[in-house]
Symmetry: D2
Subunit: 379 residues, 4 copies
């Protein structure tokens, strides 16, 4: 009974394995969003190659990448999730994070009286994801936060402490099991300069900050200006589909047209979870605002330069340096991280046992419908 | 910049007057939900008769009254609100309460980066409305809670105290200005037995509890059984459109077919705000689970029998007696309230100045986009 | 692989039996529109009582009953049919008539490359149904028209003659098998005056003419004026859900409020197919604009007064008299029909073998995708 | 009162000028589909640069490019057009061609009782467009076919001859006014090999044939194989957004990755109308299945190789040679056309006066609602 959205597949894969392997649980998987889109690498095929059955495919992205289409995609997604939930009749809807597809699934589940479980609630960040995450919390019946602070925040927000299980982030489960032996892999099907995965490289992911719609192009130009000077082999992954992503893509295309012979910039759409983890693990420095840089990287100790305010408020480990979205500051931060080199891994986001803990809890939870702000039970 | 949903028009009307009368504000009104439907009395025409321009009409109710159609109506409403907000380009979206239409408007506004203000946040109740209310809070930038407790709960949930303004409930503004002189009015266009508004009567409203979908018919039969024995003139207003309302309507129709000559039951679809307030004010006892019985009645002191758990958790004044949804218990509670008679009005839900306070705040608020859980600013 | 819309179930039921009974065919049934709605009598439960499995339920009616919501319901229906067809993967989509739900199903099927078969194409009528019927024809791969004229028209419109099978209307199949022995049945669950099904009565059905949206109320008042004077027991069935139906309902309710003690008007929502056929068979005169009065009545010889222009252009048998929508003209026509009495049945719409012929064809048809205006194959 | 879909802007631009310049008409423009999408070149900005106001922007493309999403996009488009028509309240909806966006607009207009006028009806082609075109005809009140044969076919399909005006195709209006002086222009912002617009080049456009979904990749590989051998400078424009277009794009990308240094293939998203006409005019040979190759090219005499069956049934002039979708056949046809060189222009699709004729008619048409198959008026 797991719901998956694109980049999160890497995080949920160990949970799916744990559920599929649990005698008291049956796994149903619904894929949606960019997972289904060829231009984002069609991650759904990876799910199937990994041996999972995909029980539902929900197309929800209304093209346009402006705030209005983003809002409409949320609405459309609610409609489509309602259809699938009506058909699949799950006992529990399990979802992760703060994307609008996850919010839509939560709303559909809530109005259909389904038991909703939420992974990664209670965190703090920027963008509209911040609000969506807490709204999902308010619909969720059970919570699997990734850190102690998140668990504490959930209870302070009025969730019943008996429904909050701080299990750590499942993204660490796979990493900790494999990390020391993660081999570097060739970067295959991308475009642009060829770069060698066995030599030092940077990894860049930069998503739009929807609450700053319109600023994206200038922001990417700052990052490109910083990297242009460094001329260091770089793997850049295309952004997600949020409002503003077209502006980011455009800035990248313009740069490539102006510098057709550049030898540092390799672009890719997507990587399977293990490849991505390997790419992050072996990167000399990760640059951008992907939540994986906050989270997955802590299990690895990869140096990170966090750019801009999309993730402001998240809990971070020592391997992360923040930089405002200005070329000079970004460049200085990169140089500082390169000088420092790899950090010691942290247990901030868990110890690698989250998936098993989630499956165990799911099998034992009483399903109920009526939530109420827990404050009223206090003295 | 006010958004209205059906029964709430009574509550928002003084706010709309205050906004329209404020030199620094311009009022836009979007009507949706049952306000537009003939079979619910088409309340939108009352809005226009009251002199307000209706800038948008959003049809969102997908027929069916089952949880799946209710979920789909939410999705459809998000799409339609996005269209209207794109067209009207409001600076502020102001909404009230916890209905799914309000949730849909909140989501559309949030993903379109509009400043969202919410009236009646922080309260506690049953039904899915409980979750929707708090989810709206998580998207809202400013809050106008109706009570001190609600304000306190909003801050505890992580809202910035500087954005929480406990102004009281605007529903009291009109009541306190008019209540002592509210004349009893004839109950006109309904069906069933004729009853005299100048003699003692009961007022009943019973909405479905969506999280208990399927139980409605039996619940209504209990209420009817209680009232059947009392045989006391009763004005019963049809329920809202939530999943389950068809079951309620059916139970009522079956009763009427079986007791065609009964002389106590008068059914009506809808009353204009002032008529409704008069009807509630003059009722000998109000019976059911409408939130107006919790809230508006406190300004009046009308005796109330609250039936079932739809409102469990709300703050109540002395005029309210709770009863489980069983004929005997309901009947006993009604008799107790009739024996007691009218209560003294309470200031639990405000002192009649909410509308003016809201308009004054709206005109002065800095618009901003990025919210963050306030906990992270704490020491 | 049959698709059903509300009132048409009576017509398709023998086809469904024939398909279910054919060794080379498997029947899937999708119900939609008013079939699912309590306030229209929830005909889907009759389908299930009759022993058919309902494979899909598609809620499509956006409340409002204005042209805009009708258009949006079409759009919504296309989306929902696409979902169901994707799930059920039928080889053939079989549908009947000209309702907007049928148009929506045709469009979804066409863009999904499914083989589309259409019953009752090539007819001529009024309302938007006229255009929708021919548009469905243009998407349909095979045609089962009800009359020779319809078959001829389909070919003239450019359909390949090899794909046009004039089999008669399946509505006659059941009637001809049962008609002489159709017993009169009590009219049960309606409201208003009680009338005796064994004594002479009128049957009225009046649907809105969507292309004359806004005129409905006056039209119904003319019919009511005609009948008010006659004071003859009358069974009136509520209209369908098209734009304007709320106006019709309102006119009826107003009449009933003004004449609460009238002894002629009995209102009902819906009748199961056999009950409806019996009611039509035994009626002294049928009055209104239902297509069943044009079609089903020809197999029975029931006298019909066709009111207004909703059906202008249809092929009619001798049992039908037309009247403009004016009280005097309607009354005169009714009196003329009562004076005449029952007519001889006609074979205009077939000889009772349509269902078997359709099933036989369906099992033998080659599925293909690409249609082309047949004119280009001519010399 | 003009509706526009992407590639057709070139054809409608002279009509828009004629309407805007007519004293009895007011022009409203709604843009939709790929016109609004950055990844298709955002043609809407060209409309605005040309001095037209864009009154509505309708995002309708649900991402996925599979038949199910295509069907859902139709449904979504109907909903959104209903909203815009409700807001803009046009007297006449004017649209062109056979795309699904046009079908959606036609359905919304029809169910909202708006007068619908259709350009380019009565033509014959392949793909689902064939059915959509004739379905639009069945909703349209007036018709502006491009050829005498099309006009004749419309009447044979049952349209009233008094509503059919064979005015020629407006795409010729601009071409005939400018063609002899159309300068060759640089091909700017594309990717791949640089090619010189002043030297001989091929022009390729290949759209998916939706009724053959799944065959696209092999088809494109055949064309690429034919051109690979010729190694002749070629301008290739990306396909439209129909189901299957992702497969075409993929085949092109794979070719480019395998032949990164090729010097013949230049890819572009989009060209403004005049640039496109110049590109077609000066091409040595046009290859593919774009309807502009059938139509616009006849006014110019550009040699065309029509590949596959997407356009089977269209009226063609002497400048066109057909080839099945096989590398050898395509190559042979190209060589034959190159050997022949430019043809004499044809007047098959009009004489350059269509736009003025359309505007003149629109200003004089009586608006009406109720259509009926014209056959019934015949003796």
């Amino acid at each position: 009974m797991v719901l998956v959205d694109r980049a999160n597949y890497g995080r949920l894969k160990p949970v799916m394995r744990a559920i599929a392997g649990h005698p008291g649980l049956e796994l149903q998987t619904v894929c949606t969003g960019t997972m289904l889109l060829e231009r984002f690498g069609e991650a759904v095929s990876i799910v199937e190659k990994d041996g999972f059955r995909v029980d539902g495919r929900i197309y929800v992205e209304l093209e346009g990448s402006v705030p209005t289409t983003m809002a409409k995609s949320v609405g459309f997604a609610v409609i489509e999730f309602a259809t699938e939930f009506h058909r699949l009749k799950p006992d529990i809807v399990l979802l992760i994070g703060d994307r609008y597809e996850a919010l839509a699934a939560a709303i559909a589940a809530a109005y259909m009286n389904l038991c909703l479980c939420h992974i990664q609630g209670g965190e703090v960040s920027g963008s509209i994801d911040e609000s969506a995450r807490h709204a999902i919390t308010k619909f969720a019946h059970y919570h699997f936060p990734a850190t102690e602070r998140s668990a504490k925040y959930l209870v302070r927000m009025g969730e019943d402490p008996a429904t909050v299980f701080p299990v750590g982030c499942p993204c660490g489960d796979a990493i900790l099991r494999r990390a020391p032996r993660l081999p570097a892999r060739d970067f295959g099907r991308g475009s642009g300069a060829r770069i060698d995965a066995r030599k030092p490289y940077f990894l860049v992911i930069f998503h739009p900050v929807t609450t700053r719609f319109g600023d994206e192009r200038g922001q990417v130009e700052e990052i490109l200006a910083a990297l242009h000077g460094l001329d260091h082999p770089t793997l850049w992954l295309w952004p997600n589909i949020d409002a503003g992503s077209d502006h980011i893509s455009k800035a990248l295309r313009v740069y490539r047209e102006r510098h057709p012979g550049n030898r540092w910039l390799h672009m890719m759409k997507n990587l399977p979870p293990e490849h991505f983890q390997a790419a992050l693990y072996h990167a000399r420095c990760a640059i951008g605002n992907s939540s994986s840089f906050i989270r997955d990287s802590t299990f690895m100790g990869t140096p990170v330069v966090l750019v801009g305010d999309r993730q402001v408020g998240r809990e971070t480990a020592a391997n992360l340096v923040e930089a405002p979205c200005a070329a000079d500051a970004i460049r200085a931060a990169i140089e500082r991280q390169c000088a420092h080199g790899r950090y010691r891994p942290s247990t901030l986001y868990g110890d690698g046992t989250a998936s098993a803990a989630i499956a165990r809890r799911l099998a034992a939870l009483p399903l109920y419908r009526q939530k109420r702000l827990h404050f009223i039970h206090e003295r």
